[in-house]
Symmetry: D4
Subunit: 232 residues, 8 copies
């Protein structure tokens, strides 16, 4: 197991071997120069880079050196793809309860896509108009995993869980005011979901949900490629 020590950071160049996906840069609290330097080290060892919680200022510096890097405004992500990761069979549904939850859903979608997943985006199907959700039931069930993004009371994952047999990861968002307590209400709601098997990530953590879903999709993908290995 190896790493590169930059003084301010020890880049884990062994990450992909151990975990299946390369190290990702959490850009918050880093200077543009620090982000750039970490990009360089990762790209010496991998073909793609993902930076989350990035600012336009960080992107500008990165782009000067890596011309083909992209900034995903709503998702606040930087991506660089020297050579895209291989496409996985199987899709991931990214569902969000309301329009205001889109930035978090987009962070999830961008993460999924750079890791080789196909994404089904389904927006604004909150429980206050349950017929909107029932209309997309088959679309959801056709995916290998489901990410449900919701703020306020965070009730959507429970309703979705009741309609699908696929692994479901709930992402509370900080959308709301007053007693939403910056997303705590949605988080608690999801943790107490009556829908069996709902798992939860941190508030606004679209990246984490995507990472978990990609791990599942990759596992299924490998199983379909090497079914014999799995059967043992």
């Amino acid at each position: 197991m190896s790493f590169v020590d930059l003084g301010f950071a020890r880049v884990d160049t062994d990450r992909k071997n151990r975990r299946g996906f390369p190290e990702v840069i959490f850009c918050a609290g880093k200077t543009p120069d620090e982000v750039l330097q970490i990009c360089r080290v990762i790209l010496e060892n991998q073909d793609v880079v993902l930076g989350t919680r990035a600012t336009r200022e960080q992107f500008s510096l990165v782009q000067r050196e890596f011309k083909h890097s992209k900034f995903h405004e709503r998702a606040r992500c930087i991506t660089i793809e020297n050579d895209p990761m291989p496409k996985l069979s199987g899709k991931i549904a990214v569902i969000c309860a309301g329009t205001s939850d889109l930035p978090v859903a987009e962070e999830a979608a961008v993460t999924l896509e750079i890791f080789g997943n196909c994404v089904e985006r389904i927006c604004d199907v909150g429980v206050a108009g349950i017929h909107r959700l029932l209309a997309v039931r088959e679309q959801i069930e056709s995916c290998n995993a489901v990410i449900v993004v919701a703020g306020m009371e965070g009730a959507l994952p429970s309703a979705v869980a009741g309609l699908t047999s696929k692994p479901l990861i709930a992402v509370p968002t900080s959308v709301g005011y007053g007693a939403s307590l910056g997303g705590i209400a949605a988080l608690l709601g999801m943790l107490n979901s009556c829908g069996s098997g709902v798992t939860v990530v941190n508030i606004d953590n679209g990246f984490g949900a995507a990472y978990a879903a990609a791990t599942i999709n990759r596992l299924v993908h490998l199983a379909t490629r090497e079914p014999e290995a799995q059967k043992k």
Copy 2:
């Protein structure tokens, strides 16, 4: 405006004039004898008594003097009806998400009934099996107000609100564990409901929700009796 001073309590004998319903006894923290004495004062001025959060011990003493008093085990209520209050037209739906929420739902139902309301009890229609809720949609809409009792993530009121045009009062319960925080998760969920117009009462406060629903039903009842007064 008048009251009777018992030393340990000042019974508000004017309550029904001002509020439409007589004073109710919150039995928690009172001795059986104190409950009995308050019953006496209320019955000198009114025909019915309701005691909530009552114990069997308090009931035993009350029953010795008021033979026709009743104890509602699951609802933890004492009721005495010398002369029942007049029946109101219009029904109230009392819906609960799961079997464990029944005690709170029953407190609401007993309160509604002693105040002259007809109750539609609908049990175990949580969002994890949304078809169970859709099956009772018309039954709900036929009522003048809807009380929704739910613990855990408290998602049911949002789903019900999306299906009805009637006033909806949500009651969080302390059913759950861990991050349910004794009902706080359900309470926050309901306060942040994406279903417009959902109002909320304290955790496990079946009585309060019933009182509010009864107030609405009484108002509608009076309107149907005296439509001209309302039209002004």
Copy 3:
């Protein structure tokens, strides 16, 4: 049941049928263009639009297309009335404890008015000078529902509840500092109100309280129009 899918939003065009009032736009976190597009879809199906938590920037874009739209500064609301909703008989009281609670009270009043309700505004009757409240007692009782808006300790709903027989909806506000915890103190106070039947909405949620009150007023209004239907 139907909806229109705009990609970023699924507008619930069936809302008025199910709930009595058309869908309302929660403008926070939406771009001006998104608000405008939703306005268009709603106005194809309804005669009025209400946007809450709106900014002047969102309004400017909307106004360019809908000349007769209005911006309610203090209430932070956009309204468009192609054809006003029919006036309901019966008034709603909107009471606030202090001058600083006015923005929330105004959000309630604007919501009530666009939904066809008459509003009685009563301002600055906090419990520290209880004679100010006693002076408006009859004015309150003459309404079909009462909204009480208060920050700090949120004591006013308890005092008002003791004086009226009408349904009372309490709105905690984020007015205060320190241990007011952004309105949590007022919220907890109202949830624990000793005034029977007080129901509560989220902090600063003037809209939600108004929606609930409008639902009640509409129910009473319909009862006075069609008393026979209610009597069954």
Copy 4:
């Protein structure tokens, strides 16, 4: 300044000199024998002993040695008066919102009385029936300080504060359930009181409120005895 070291406790025998009242025993978490030993040391230096949060078991042991000791059941206090403290001129009002708040109010009353104060007990004047409070307004104003004990939403101190010119000390109680959070709701309510000058003590801390009120009453008492000293 001096103290007596018992190993498990250092009894502050100088307390009365510095603070005006002798040391008081907080009995919770102490063995009966420890309580007894501290009683002995205090009585060697003072004429009265007060033990709060006491159990009957602690009292039994104490009484075996100090025959004239008393146990105040509801207040959970032990008192021993070898020679009562001199009576202070001026009364203290102890007001409580509901019957369930009586144990805390009694702890305050017992404390006040052993320190030489006259107590006006006023019970069950909660804001849900404000006429009950208005009826005792003059009785309150005739005192030198006012203690207001309330659970649930803790609104009573604000209402009382608006009616009197005397120092007011609010005591939140743990009476309530659910969102009362063991008295936190009442505590926050009182800290955010719109009634200017309301000061607050810990939940259920009747003793602390009484100590503060006694300090005020003693100061006034001394002022009436030695007005010249004060005028300087």
Copy 5:
């Protein structure tokens, strides 16, 4: 979609069709008779029953009718297997940080086993002796999903996540005291895990983690059986 209405419960007999696993009984707050009745309805439609948070008293009644039912003491589960569910290929690791976390780990293991999964139990590998964890690294990586159960600071999932490429579900437990806040500290720790892709369930919710892991394992199992379907 169908259900059976028992009055106190609406048993969701369609659950296995929609979700892949039959309905499970959350026994807390139900009477033994209610548990028995629900068992009967489920067994009319399915071959296995799982009851979680069960008491010995509930089990005794169930066992009277279903002789081959089992009670799992530490896991607090009732199981009945008329015909075991088919075994899934692939294993699930259930890791716990300390001995005191065993009841929650066992709830997970019992749930996994009745749903047809093989379980690798790994106990007491907390981060304070990291060599204990490194010793089981390959054992973990050989599974299809990993459940990590930990109380106190909840640090174990982060360390495990860094060592495996498999989906990881973290279960905080209420083991600890003081600032562990009944498991909240562990819950927050896991939600903020620096290990990408860690998902979390409610405190002490071994069942929920197992359900999620079983869903993943079933998906992989189906993929290995029908790889062509997945490749589309």
Copy 6:
């Protein structure tokens, strides 16, 4: 009892009769014009005005009409004295733990002075250097009441309480960071003070503490003037 209704405010012109001091303006959340209008009404009935939590902008407008009004920068207060209130005999100590607590201490001092009290300012005597506090012990004891202002852990009131026989009002401040939780740590510390009789006001509420202290000082002052009345 009377008031003046300005629409946005009902000024309590009877306040001084009932409470001993005239109404005070809480300027936060009011427009400069609203502050000015309230000033006008108060000055028609009283000789002094105090506005707390005021901005320079509010002051500028007020000063245009009331030339002799003053702005107290650090205390954020506006004062107008047409005719100063009569000086009370007796002093109030205002003690603060650190330099950063000065704004709150100044709010207290300005309030005390406009209400006719003499103030002893004592700054930076935190418990980390207890000799600084012991040096001012007599200065404190010479006052009629003591206000102790402290942030961070809020330990100072306990130490001061142990050294004086005078009523002590503790003011927690929001000075601190991290686990000070915006003053909650100091607030909790003061509420749990082992110093008997410490009473507490809201975080940063220098005004409230001063009001309470002024009430006490006024009471003592009146007692020295009319000792006979008190003796009854």
Copy 7:
């Protein structure tokens, strides 16, 4: 690095090599038999065993096999010393604020003693009588480290810190009621201490504080034995 796998526990037999002290048994949540088995494994490798949070029932079983084991009632500890650890030069002060804090202080003292430290016990020197603390100032300074145990407002560590140059570890206790929130108030107070360099452990964690103090004392002890090694 090695361990012994008992199935339910992996005993870290390498702990003393790495950390200086052998593994300690946290007995809470373990069966008596599990405690016994772990004792056996530890004693095969070490000469002493410490079990914290132990019950008498656990002790009874342990004592049956290890006759010379001891139970420390107040400290809730089991100790077995086959061969006592070597005495360290240097003392540790264990100070507690009040009598009720003794169990936590004793847990610290028992831990220190089995690890070879001399303990200075100083009890009941709370800040409400600061002269009691000043009297032991030199006794404190003569130690190599200071443990300060306090509940309620947790102010004592700040005061002690101001008087000594030695490392100070603060232990909040759950002593108190109401707003002490089970020790959270004391914990927050200590974390916000104005006394520079105060470090804190979990509520009631006497063991943890003792372990830290023993680590310091051992370091100093080794320095005095091998000063040359340190000087490098």
Copy 8:
């Protein structure tokens, strides 16, 4: 014991005698001029000054008078060294979990250095790549004390504690989002650390951890100089 009273501050000129290190200026909330004046008083008595939480504006004024003062940008510290404090033998490790924790780690390092300690900086060794930590194990063990700085879940101190025999002080940081609650998650994690003997300071309090570590290092340093004194 002595101090200098500046009116707004009482500078504790006796601090170094009592505590081993001179008084430090907490600059937050002080005006530049106040900082300057305190610097002057300290430098009359000591040779070094440390100001924490300083702004560039405060530094500019200080630098005008003290030309050789330095501003440590990332650490937000002002230092002035007229004559550096004597170097202590022994090093302190300052370890941080991620790049974003650097400002807090730097505050610790600057504090340590001005107090005469040598610092080993080790950055970005979070538990998600545990091999990065194992690589520096001996470097850590060679120090006299270890400071571990981490945000998010705060798991690093537990892992480090398991690998070293030296005193360990954990510093939670406010790095993170959502359920990190501004550092509370990390704080709780560290307080509940399964690593025995971990002590904790306030969120972001690099200074406090450094002060504690310096106290330990000074003690060891003195022990190596005067081993005989310690042996007594």
